[in-house]
Symmetry: none
Subunit: 222 residues, 4 copies
């Protein structure tokens, strides 16, 4: 009766109509992400969220047990969008190198589209109690896994050096996140496209083998 949810689906609503729950939650989360991103979690009141979502404050508590639950849902929705964009971007690609670059590009693109939300994730994950925070971390690890897999494939194909995959993955992920985190400065230095281009070049230098470079020129030529 009091234990915290260990997966998203354990965030139990008091409302039974499955479809309604989805619709309402989505309303609430959309409003929450917007507000939390701009004003921060603590400066945003549930009334704010309710008003922006076009519902009453009481209603929110039929779909969520806590203000913290709203945060959890909001953060998960952000991470979830990462997890969906990457596979979508890889669809139809089979060349390891192409897949790798596509993954990074896709990641940077989502981050750019959800810039404020990305910052939110950095700011607010620690505001969650430990158990709920684990959910977020699990989600992050899963997304990283997608990048890591692309990287591993390149290494296996001899296109990239034998690096510590997980550490480099963090470099890649961090590169994407930085576009959001340091946007206040970066936007004065370059566009997203330039940022991505410079980044990919940097990573190419750091990672590609001679074989990799040859392959790179080939796919670049097409």
């Amino acid at each position: 009766m009091d234990h915290k949810p260990s997966t998203v689906h354990d965030v139990k609503a008091q409302v039974t109509d499955e479809a309604l729950v989805l619709r309402r939650r989505s309303q609430i989360i959309t409003a929450a992400v917007e507000l939390f991103s701009h004003q921060g979690f603590y400066r945003t009141t549930i009334q704010d969220v309710a008003k922006k979502a076009g519902v009453s404050a009481g209603l929110i508590y039929q779909y969520v047990s806590d203000k913290e639950d709203v945060l959890l849902l909001a953060l998960l929705s952000v991470l979830e969008s990462y997890k969906q964009e990457i596979p979508a971007a890889l669809e139809g690609l089979s060349d390891p190198l192409e897949r790798f670059w596509a993954a990074i590009r896709a990641y940077c693109r989502v981050v750019d589209q959800r810039r404020e939300a990305t910052v939110l994730a950095y700011r607010s994950t620690k505001s969650l109690p430990d158990e709920r925070r684990q959910l977020i971390k699990a989600c992050e690890i899963e997304t990283n896994g997608m990048i890591a897999a692309c990287l591993t494939d390149c290494v296996k194909a001899g296109l990239m050096r034998e690096v510590n995959v997980e550490l480099v993955t963090y470099q890649l992920v961090t590169f994407a996140h930085s576009w959001a985190l340091k946007h206040w400065r970066l936007k004065e230095l370059c566009t997203l496209e330039q940022y991505v281009a410079e980044g990919l070049d940097f990573f190419a230098q750091a990672l590609l083998t001679a074989e990799g470079w040859k392959h790179q020129r080939k796919i670049g030529a097409e």
Copy 2:
């Protein structure tokens, strides 16, 4: 009494004794950094800070005008420590490459020493009103400038490729910060030393010219 400070020294204390102000503020800030780092800014009360600092709640308001002022001071103290460690680490070094690596190492070391505080800076800068936040950003840009300078020197000396200095600087800075931000995961993968070693290797690959590699081997051999 109502206009916000635009530099640190505008955070006006009601107390006149200069030395006392410094001592008291340092007490307060030490306590605040500790508490904000662990519990976050909003979960920490002024009473908490007062208790940990061993003073009364009322006293704090003689040295600070706001709770936000405490945050500002706390964040500045963190960024200040970065700004001091780096030049200290470069002391006596004249070789551009040595200086570059030393700067990165120093940065990573401070971040490691003040890990929680680094996370705090990421979480809480946005909690400041815009004017105060500018102070923080200015401080960050200044620190970045030190790294950037080392990088520029290497490039000028032909040891590194002609890269977009400021962008790469962000990569470097972010690499250091990540040790704190993703410590929950990284600590399971490697030690700080390994992290730094892997990172430096990565950056070497990405940045060094043939000339740079030759030089690198030379200073490595000494």
Copy 3:
């Protein structure tokens, strides 16, 4: 729609089917007595009652105008059960003394059977607005009247002393109620049977005349 009922039958339902009203109310009251007894009136929500009664929250408001109405109905149902048990226990008895003891025993038995509900009556009568409370008091006075009548008969028959009937009635009633009110302690001291036996002995000592004792021995001997 806003004036309060002055008798049970003024608690107006919106539903017309008489039999249905009775059935629904009984469902609701059973659930309410159970919940109010255990958690108290204020800690019990209408949703709780609805769930336990197996109906929807909205339905309750078709048979009752208020949450307080539910309480009124619940309390009346408890007092009603007293009013029914006593005459039932006297059925077929004509000897005044036998009737007296039987009445007390019956009262104690109902109280024991509806222990929590008895406590509820003590706790919650004051939660009703004055007009509704009068209904409860009238009901209590009526029940007391049954005991008082038995007592009066014994006195008239010369079996008991000429006491202040109503005051002694309160002693008797209170004795029965105490079994519920102080059950947390009494249950450690004796069983219901022992409690009743000791009590009857006590009252015998206090009330019986010499004539009464003689009669008592006679009926005890049978």
Copy 4:
């Protein structure tokens, strides 16, 4: 940090000044007893209590951790007053029978003086969580012990029959409480003095031995 108090003195105030705590608490409790008695615990808001006590709502929480804590303190203050009046009434009396009657009279007197509060105790003890309720029960048992001791002395002196002391004590206590609980009806039947007189007579009949009656006449004659 979260465990409930197990004695009154564990209800910890945030204020350190011992004397102030006593004064403030007394202000709060006086207001609370008054309001809880008339409107009930749940119908009384902390704001109500604060206003009546002439303090701010926030202040209450410096002396109490909960609204329930206020109730606990209020109830304890009532029971405490019982515990003080009885010994005071026995002061200087040595004759067992005199002491017994004096104890009952004193009990009835306090109940009369704090009639509403006595009703409060009956209504609201169950509103406390179990651990806190234990405190109340312990206090009640202690008070009962004083009556029981007087009773025991009379029995030992051969002035009263060998009865089940604790059960009879409950009869006596209940008799006193009834004056408050059933005051709405009793006040129409008699004054407090008459109530006590009738009651004492009743108990005399029930309890005194022949020896007891002799002694009774003697002390009554003085």
